[in-house]
Symmetry: C2
Subunit: 351 residues, 2 copies
């Protein structure tokens, strides 16, 4: 009965990672859509473009020349939002006009020398290289900075201005809002229940199965119970892991496997290169490395904007910005759709 109530009637669900609620109104999927239609993602991207600043051997905006890389390639963002040496605006401020120094570093990582591949189309050993480099950057920047945010904006719809497969890594001298909130929530849960929030959650979802999209012996990808974006997923290790740097070789291989499978399903959903923003959250670094962070559990969030088709996205606007996030299909419906998709990529299936 309860499951049916949740499927057919609007209700609120609690997000324990953010201490917020989401409004779920599955019946809204029935409304017709006469609004904005997006351009579908570009299908024909040249493998090498002499004018693309991310391709091997090309010259970037600041005159630097990329190496002739044949795997991943890391460089400093030419227009960084965070620089290492910004001055302090000074204290002694009115409580309504408070500012603080922000220092950090912004890096870009190309996943592959070719512009016409994406993670799901790359070989497993190539994805593994990306994972190793992610861990390497968190290791390196984490000695100095309390937060190292790895994120990928994929697709023009998600503000990505270059089709070459890449992600960004922004490290900062402060704990940003989202990880700070997540830290608070995980800490409080651990204190109350004696187990890390997301470790318990992963176990529960592995048993319940209804929100699982894909899994292997080390990892689990689910549409979280509290998902706000239509096809949002949460990627979790089964073992208690604090940071990406702590993953064993086996777990990194398992991660390459599950990422390829999850992202293939995403691409297969509307048979396009699926847009999303994704990023990793793990225990803070820098001076936090010496503290007890047992309440943390490593995870990646995937936030894809599409709702109905390759060209109709979910608009998180008016009510969502001013009051509360609202979704139009249940997380269970989204998980089932993704779960039932083939694990072979639509682009390689024909061949």
């Amino acid at each position: 009965l309860c499951a049916r109530v949740l499927l057919e009637h609007q209700h609120l669900r609690y997000n324990p990672l953010r201490d917020t609620w989401v409004l779920v109104s599955a019946h809204r999927m029935k409304r017709p859509w006469a609004g904005q239609v997006e351009k579908p993602p570009e299908e024909h991207i040249p493998r090498y473009d002499p004018r693309n600043p991310l391709c091997p051997g090309n010259t970037r905006a600041n005159g630097e020349v990329n190496s002739d890389y044949d795997s991943t390639f890391i460089f400093e963002n030419d227009f960084p939002a965070l620089q290492p040496d910004a001055p302090d605006p000074g204290s002694d401020q009115h409580p309504l006009f408070q500012s603080k120094a922000a220092r950090g570093i912004c890096k870009v990582m190309c996943f592959h020398p070719w512009s016409d591949v994406t993670l799901p189309l790359m070989k497993k050993h190539e994805v593994l290289k990306v994972i190793d480099k992610w861990a390497g950057l968190v290791e390196e920047l984490g000695t100095k900075y309390p937060w190292v945010q790895i994120f990928e904006n994929k697709g023009a719809m998600m503000g990505c201005s270059n089709p070459h497969p890449h992600c960004q890594v922004w490290a900062s001298n402060f704990l940003p809002n989202e990880p700070a909130l997540s830290d608070r929530c995980q800490r409080a849960y651990y204190k109350k229940h004696g187990e890390p929030l997301l470790l318990q959650y992963a176990r529960q979802e592995a048993e319940k199965k209804e929100r699982v999209v894909v899994e292997n012996s080390d990892w689990l990808a689910v549409v979280p119970y509290w998902a706000t974006w239509p096809y949002q997923t949460l990627l979790l290790p089964r073992r208690h892991v604090l940071r990406i740097t702590d993953l064993t070789t086996g777990e990194r291989e398992g991660l390459a496997d599950i990422m390829k499978r999850l992202l293939t399903k995403y691409d297969n959903l509307f048979e396009i290169s699926f847009p999303y923003s994704m990023g990793w959250h793990g225990a803070p670094t820098g001076t936090h490395l010496k503290e007890d962070n047992s309440h943390w559990h490593l995870h990646a969030h995937y936030y894809p904007p599409l709702l109905r088709s390759a060209t109709v996205k979910k608009f998180m606007v008016g009510y969502e910005m001013l009051a509360q996030e609202q979704r139009d299909l249940t997380p269970e419906q989204a998980a089932e759709k993704l779960r039932n998709l083939p694990e072979e990529h639509y682009k390689t299936r024909e061949n």
Copy 2:
């Protein structure tokens, strides 16, 4: 010195209404943009379209016929996210799988019988009618519901699927995330400083002037110190007012005046019908009507997505979704740009 540091170097600013920080990196405006370009808003909208469900006398999706209205027109949303009678999913839940009943009502309000006008192009007495109806709906729905969210999604870019000038009003049996957070912050500030946060803020901004966009004897529109969207504004009454229902006749006239002037500047910025989501926040209603809500101060938020031109918006994606919001020009720069724009609408200037 300090002002110069804030203009030229990245820094964080505190948002006291949400207890969060925003990363301001003004130097990022220099980066070239090769990313997604939006379709500019439709310029030629027919005054009356027989197929538009919002026009006077037309039939809507559910078969109902609109009255032949000549001013505002209110009806229930044909695909509501909130309905009055959803069942309770039941309590006794695992802390990671919590749900709650959501009940409410969703209304739509047309501002004008013509599809080819918007608020800045309407006459002042017509805008005043809209304001009176807003107050009327809060009065009516507020007897039953703790939160009545008035919001306008303007433009296809903001998920609006109908060009006819209109807003929505969603009333709920719960206090949504955003007002709940704002309530907490305003309450704590009042307790600590003995004055409503936004009343003190309005006075300070009226003195400082550098973030004021437009003002009159009853109202003030500023780009708030902590704005996240490039041209975000905050509209505040000068007198301590808890709810839109409490505005005097004079204040309503002043509001019609300042809305017309602010929205005209918005349209003049890129000489298009400026897209945004806006909404009102005032003290909660329902059972809260009997409580002391002196910490509250009525205000409207305007969140416009555009950054560089009529077709290049700010993408709140990767870093913003996963870590913290980031802006590319300072609030003072945005305020100055808006302040210096003419108060006559570009569409009526030629004539």
